[in-house]
């Protein structure tokens, strides 16, 4: 686990994962893949984000969100998952908290799926394969807008 001191101070750059008040953004990762959960977690924590929870299907994700609320700033949401898919979970989270910041992360980039997610209130949509730059860029976009 990296701390704020691990970051070089020469460029005075603030780590992406820190909100303007200096506290870390709190993230819930919903993905049925252990690999992806770890991958996203790795990218985010290295930038100072705090992963406050992980869930491996939509239902679990929804439950975790309700449990964590309001101490959660961001959700990354997979789409193809057992029990409840990510789009349904997104819809339910938005019903529960219309200000929720949810970012869809999926191997599927189908137009209608992207459109539907954005219409339902997702802040962004990232198509896999993931790389660090892509993930951070999109997440920052949805946190700052």
């Amino acid at each position: 686990m990296k701390t704020k001191q691990d970051f070089p101070s020469i460029n005075q750059r603030k780590a992406d994962g820190l909100a303007s008040d200096g506290n870390a953004y709190r993230v819930l990762i919903v993905d049925d893949s252990l690999f992806v959960t770890k991958q996203i977690g790795q990218i985010l924590t290295s930038e100072g984000f705090e992963v406050v929870g992980t869930a491996s299907n939509g239902q679990e994700g929804l439950d975790s969100y309700k449990e964590l609320y309001p101490n959660v700033d961001l959700v990354t949401m997979d789409i193809t998952m057992p029990k409840m898919d990510g789009v349904t979970a997104l819809e339910k989270i938005m019903e529960f908290d219309k200000n929720a910041r949810v970012i869809m992360i999926s191997a599927l980039g189908k137009q209608d799926l992207v459109k539907k997610s954005l219409m339902l209130g997702a802040r962004n949509y990232i198509v896999k394969p993931l790389d660090r730059k892509k993930v951070l860029e999109r997440i920052m976009m949805s946190l700052t807008k």
Binding site: F35, M81, A107, Q111
Partner: protein
């Protein structure tokens, strides 16, 4: 298998493998097989639903699976694996998921509507998957880690 389905799978497999593993990939000659039995030892399966029924099976040897998973993990500064543990399996299924997802996305843009089901992975030397009466397209990919045979069986809903 419908002709239009072939290229999206071949391209996605090539692109994703290249992007994720950053290694030289040699595409093998495509062919048809009358059985969809995995033969190499590790098989990740993703189901397809929608306008069609079918599945995509990623078949590789255990050694290859371990090397591929390790390479993917190391690319994100994670520990490589020595054996095919849960992390290894999750890594391979995710690879399968990314390839199939990209293929389905391409197909979608061509007007073919289908969906994915969550992946599953099987390992073992004498694996048997009861899947009779299926003709599969085999997309062989040769990697420095060994070969992956992508076995695509899709049937139109009549």
């Amino acid at each position: 298998m419908r002709v239009e389905y072939i290229n999206p799978f071949v391209e996605s497999a090539y692109n994703v493998l290249k992007e994720v593993l950053s290694v030289e990939i040699v595409r093998g000659e495509l062919y048809l097989k009358s059985t969809s039995m995995p033969v190499l030892g590790v098989a990740a399966i993703i189901g397809l639903a929608g306008d069609v029924e079918g599945r995509v099976l990623f078949d590789m040897s255990k050694v290859t699976a371990i090397q591929i998973a390790s390479a993917m993990l190391q690319s994100m500064e994670m520990e490589p694996i020595e054996e095919l543990n849960d992390m290894g399996k999750a890594t391979i299924t995710e690879l399968a998921n990314m390839i199939t997802g990209q293929a389905v996305t391409k197909l979608h843009n061509l007007g073919f509507k289908f969906d994915l089901t969550p992946p599953a992975i099987f390992t073992g030397d004498n694996m048997e998957i009861a899947d009779t009466g299926v003709e599969a397209l085999i997309v062989p990919m040769d990697l420095p880690f060994g070969k992956i045979e992508i076995n695509v069986a899709i049937r139109e809903r009549n």
